[in-house]
Symmetry: C2
Subunit: 327 residues, 2 copies
């Protein structure tokens, strides 16, 4: 991502300025958690995409800074609330907001961040503002729906691979599409171009999540920053597990269900047993192929755009770089 | 409120139409709670105020229906989340959302309602849309801040009457002002008129909340629909208690703190003991005077408006009707 370092710096300065402003707001209990979660870092991929798309369609990228802030605020709002839902103690190796303060403060500071994601768009002219807010509300609704689907999957026993792909499209991928389209809106791109850049981001997001599933099962802990096999231990219905359940012979089905029923005390056996079946069915390969399919679709959408070839190539490189992690 | 019955019917039809649409949305777990809370009734005061203000400034009130829906969705979103914060089992004598489903569903279905409060404004033209959204975000932020202040008051021991008035202005009153101003925006009212109708609603809201404090302590349970003395038992820092603490002699201070320390087993003694001190200090009268002061301010703001005298009188009557409950 070196080629975009100036955009990261641009956004970082803007975010720091916003965070400084939070120090003057009251009540503190509402704004300190916002400042805290924004300080924890993360890739800042979503905001950068807004700047990249604005630049791609030939408008100065700093014009998109408040849209970038909007999606970053929304993303962090969703992390605060999701961490309550998941009862997660840690986020980026630091205490989650509900853990550091309490659930009530986490609910309410999340709510106010969601409202402020709309507020930071107010600098834009009315016509543009309306296009941005319409896209953003539509996206935000999908993200909530994706999160609810994900929660439903925990107890549902008839989840298909297609259900899963829809869920990750909503929960994760559409916000990448939205970020890019916001940049395109700023630059006055046509509707068709807006849709293509949105779809580029959406497919990229799906590919990214599928690779995350593979990494969770196969990456070394040190590289990945999480305990490997976490999804397997939690019986999480990822592409890997759902595909395995779909393709398994009746012997493998039985074995899989036996392994899924194992509790935490047999974590080593559970992970190795399930991965053995994944190997028999070549699940890792199938998941990487599916990710590749979405990467290809993303690139196809990008290729339709009549924009500066160098900038397009740079964005393609970013996509491929994001997708070539240590697998 | 008989004079506004046609507006109530208008809004009711619009809301029913919206609720019917919710039946087709998925995942069900996200939209059933929204449908449920909207079905529980309530005064529908906020949405009606948007229609009334639109009519007051001579635009057909049905034009404001989506703004009315916006504030009603926001109000109900805030009820869902506040009920989690308060661990309230009941809302309008029915199970709260987190009680009927669970806290996770209550958080997430509240979030999506908040987003949809913005979405329903999309029917309006861009310039108007931007004015509405700006007013609405500013109001929504205040409501969250008011809710956080209210939570902070529970454990703070230096809350003043002024702090309390600011809190109820934010938590309750500004949304009434916002509803009215939205109607005024639709009708193309000038900035000054917009501010005056907003302030009319805000002062009305403060007066209304102060009367609610009095009712909680002094109304008969049957009339009020809640257990009388609930605030006293919960040591809630209402105008009554804060004013009493401010005016109490050192003997009364001591006595008040002893009574506040009593637990639930002595609820009868606690209520009667605290009300005895309220009586000694004429706290009920002081609270009614403060409510009257805000009612007067509300009316003054209303009086500044150059609008149809009959319509103005009708709105004045509504305000006075709302404020003359059984005290």
């Amino acid at each position: 991502m070196k080629q975009y370092e100036h955009l990261f710096r641009l956004f970082f300065t803007h975010l720091e300025h916003y965070r400084t402003g939070l120090n003057n707001l009251n009540p503190k209990e509402l704004y300190e958690p916002e400042n805290y979660i924004l300080s924890l870092g993360g890739k800042r991929l979503r905001p950068i995409l807004a700047l990249i798309a604005c630049d791609l369609f030939d408008k100065a990228p700093d014009y998109a800074l408040n849209s970038a802030l909007c999606v970053e605020l929304f993303h962090n709002f969703s992390l605060i609330h999701d961490d309550i839902l998941d009862q997660a103690p840690l986020r980026r190796n630091q205490a989650t907001v509900h853990q550091k303060w309490n659930s009530n403060i986490a609910i309410l500071s999340g709510d106010v961040m969601l409202v402020k994601a709309f507020k930071v768009l107010e600098n834009y002219p009315a016509e543009e503002f309306k296009q941005l807010v319409s896209l953003f509300t539509q996206t935000a609704i999908k993200v909530c729906e994706g999160q609810q689907m994900d929660m439903n999957f925990e107890t549902a026993d008839n989840v298909t691979v297609d259900d899963y792909l829809k869920m990750i499209s909503f929960k994760t991928a559409v916000l990448l599409g939205c970020s890019l389209q916001m940049g395109a809106i700023h630059a006055g791109a046509g509707k068709k171009d807006q849709q293509n850049i949105y779809e580029f981001g959406r497919h990229l997001g799906i590919a990214f999540q599928l690779l995350d599933d593979v990494l969770d099962a196969y990456a070394e802990g040190f590289d990945f920053g999480k305990m490997p096999g976490g999804d397997i231990l939690a019986n999480k219905k990822t592409f890997l597990l759902l595909k395995a359940l779909e393709l398994a012979s009746s012997r493998q089905q039985k074995e899989l269900h036996k392994l899924l029923a194992l509790d935490k005390t047999s974590s080593g056996d559970k992970i190795s047993g399930i991965k053995l079946i994944f190997d028999e069915l070549e699940i890792k390969k199938l998941c990487l192929e599916k990710a590749d399919e979405h990467t290809q679709k993303a690139i196809e959408h990008l290729n339709t755009l009549q924009v500066n070839q160098n900038k397009k190539q740079q964005l393609k490189n970013l996509a491929l770089e994001l997708l070539h992690r240590n697998i």
